[in-house]
C-alpha cells in the first residue's frame, strides 16, 4: 500500500512572500507574508499559492453545479438544501420554461419535497443563494442513492480531467453525478462498490498514488 503523504500545513503557517507569489484560495497576506487559513494541502500553481482545506463546510459560489434536496415548496419556487450552512432558493422562472398559471397549478407537479436535483448556483449575494435549472446539464435525479463527502475533496474524487470518476463509473457500471457541494449521486449496477470507492477517496485524499489503490479496489 502506498503511504506517501502530501505535505500538510496548519492555520497560521507561513507559505511564502508576497513579493514572489500571489495569495490564492485558502490563504491571506499579512506583513508581506502569505499565510495559510486552513489545515490543508498547499498548492503552487501559476504564481498563486493556495491551500486546499481537508475539512469544512461548503460555501456556494456562482456557476457551481450542486446536488440539492428540495425541503419545501413555496408560492413561487422551492427551498433547496445544498449541504451548506445556507439554504438556497430555486425560483419558478429559473426552473420551468413553460408558462405556469400559479392559480391553477400545484408546484409540486414539478418538484416535490424530497426530490433530488442537480442544479447550478446562479447567484450568491451574502447569505442569499439562488439556484437555476436553465443549463442543459441540470436535471432532476430519479432513483439512485446519495453519499456526502467533504466538499473540498470533490476535485480529488473527479481526478485530472475526470480520470478518477470515470474509472469508478466504468468499473462499477454506474452513473455518478458529483456536486461541488460534496453530494455524490450514484445509480446503476454495483452501487455498493462505487460507494466504497467514493468513501475511500474521501478518507485517503491526501495520499499520493490514490488512483492505483482505487483501481485495485475496483478490480477485485
Amino acid at each position: 500500500m502506498m503511504t506517501e503523504m502530501r505535505k500538510i500545513v496548519v492555520p497560521g503557517e507561513v507559505l511564502g512572500d508576497v513579493k514572489e507569489k500571489n495569495s490564492g484560495y485558502g490563504t491571506f497576506s499579512e506583513d508581506g507574508k502569505i499565510i495559510s487559513k486552513f489545515l490543508g494541502i498547499p498548492k503552487d500553481s501559476s504564481g498563486y499559492l493556495s491551500v486546499v482545506p481537508l475539512s469544512g463546510v461548503y460555501t456556494p459560489r456562482r456557476q457551481d453545479k450542486v446536488i440539492g434536496f428540495v425541503i419545501s415548496v413555496e408560492k413561487v419556487g422551492w427551498v433547496v438544501d445544498i449541504n451548506s450552512p445556507w439554504t438556497s432558493f430555486l425560483s419558478l422562472s429559473e426552473a420551468v420554461d413553460e408558462f405556469v398559471d400559479l392559480k391553477r397549478t400545484d408546484l409540486r407537479r414539478f418538484y416535490d419535497v424530497g426530490d433530488v436535483i442537480y442544479a447550478q448556483v446562479s447567484d450568491v449575494r451574502g447569505s442569499d443563494v439562488q439556484l437555476s435549472m436553465k443549463t442543459p446539464i441540470t436535471r432532476k435525479l430519479r432513483g439512485g442513492v446519495t453519499v456526502k463527502i467533504t466538499p473540498s475533496k470533490v476535485p480529488r474524487l473527479i481526478g485530472k480531467e475526470g480520470s478518477m470518476i470515470n474509472t469508478i463509473k466504468e468499473k462499477t457500471k454506474t452513473i455518478i453525478r458529483v456536486g461541488q457541494n460534496g453530494v455524490v449521486w450514484i445509480s446503476g449496477e454495483k452501487i455498493n462498490k462505487a460507494i466504497k470507492a467514493v468513501k475511500l477517496i474521501e478518507e485517503k485524499s491526501h495520499i499520493v498514488g490514490l488512483t492505483d489503490e482505487i483501481t485495485k479496489l475496483l478490480s477485485d
Partner: protein, 238 residues
C-alpha cells in the same frame, strides 16, 4: 488561591510533582475524537483532561441574534461532575459562565468570521478531569477542534498558565499549586505574532514578576504549539 497549607510546595528546587519551575507537564493531544462534530480534539496536560467539539459554521437561531455581516461564536465551558474530588454540581455556575466568555473572547480574534455571515460557530469544551489550568487546556483543545473543523483561522491559539508558588515563578500550574500558590496567570497567545488574546490574574505579583512570567510562558508555549501541529498532522498520517 488564598488557602493555606503547611506543606512546602517547592522543595530543593523541585515542585510537588517533581517538575522544575520552568517545566510543563506531560502533554497529549488527539484530533478528531467526536465523529458527529465538524471538528474535535482531546488535550491532556498531566492530570487535566479537556475535550472540545466544534459545530458549524451553521445557521443561527433565534434569528434576531444573527449578524448580517459576520458569524458569531458561542462558547461553553463545562466541568463534568466527576472532574473534581468533591462532586461538582452540574450545570452552569458563575465561574463557568465567566470562563465561557473569556474563552470566546480569546478565540474570536483568530477566526475569519466575516466569511460566514449570519452563521454561528459553536465551541463546546468539557473538562473531564481537573487538576489546575483547566481553562488553558480547554482553549488548546478548542484551537485544535477549530482547525479540524475547517474554520478559517489566522493562526492556531496556544494557551499556557504561569504563576508564583512559594516565591518561585513557575509555569503550567497543577491543582495544588493553583490552590495554595501565591498567584496564577492564564495566558493565551497567537504563536506567529506573539499577540495575547487572554490574560487574567489571580493573586498578587509585582510588575517585574508579571513580565518574567510572560516571558517564560511565551517561550514554553513554543513546545505546546509544536505539539498542536503534530496532533493535527497525525490525524492525516494514519
Amino acid at each position: 488561591m488564598g488557602m493555606k497549607t503547611d506543606e512546602k510546595l517547592i522543595v530543593k528546587g523541585k515542585r510537588v510533582d517533581g517538575r522544575k519551575p520552568d517545566e510543563i507537564r506531560e502533554i497529549e493531544m488527539e484530533v478528531g475524537v467526536i465523529p458527529n462534530a465538524n471538528g474535535s480534539a482531546k488535550v491532556r496536560f498531566g492530570n487535566t483532561i479537556a475535550i472540545a467539539g466544534v459545530y458549524g459554521p451553521r445557521e443561527l437561531f433565534p434569528k434576531h441574534r444573527q449578524e448580517a455581516d459576520r458569524a458569531i461564536v458561542q462558547c461553553r465551558y463545562n466541568m463534568a461532575p466527576f472532574s473534581v474530588d468533591e462532586r461538582k454540581r452540574p450545570g452552569p455556575s458563575r465561574r463557568s459562565m465567566e470562563i465561557s466568555k473569556v474563552t470566546r473572547l480569546a478565540l474570536e480574534p483568530v477566526l475569519f468570521l466575516e466569511d460566514y455571515p449570519e452563521m454561528v460557530v459553536d465551541v463546546y469544551i468539557e473538562i473531564l478531569q481537573a487538576d489546575g489550568s483547566t481553562r488553558v487546556t480547554g482553549i488548546n483543545a478548542a484551537s485544535l477542534a477549530l482547525a479540524d473543523a475547517g474554520v478559517p483561522m489566522k493562526d492556531l491559539v496556544v494557551a499556557l498558565s504561569g504563576g508564583k508558588v512559594d516565591d518561585t515563578l513557575v509555569i503550567d500550574l497543577s491543582g495544588k499549586e493553583d490552590n495554595y500558590g501565591e498567584a496564577d496567570i492564564p495566558i493565551v497567545f497567537l504563536p506567529r505574532k506573539k499577540e495575547i488574546t487572554l490574560l487574567q490574574m489571580d493573586g498578587q505579583l509585582t510588575p517585574e514578576e508579571i513580565k518574567n512570567i510572560l516571558k517564560n510562558v511565551l517561550k514554553a508555549g513554543e513546545t505546546v504549539y509544536k505539539k498542536q501541529k503534530e496532533a493535527l498532522e497525525k490525524k492525516y498520517s494514519k
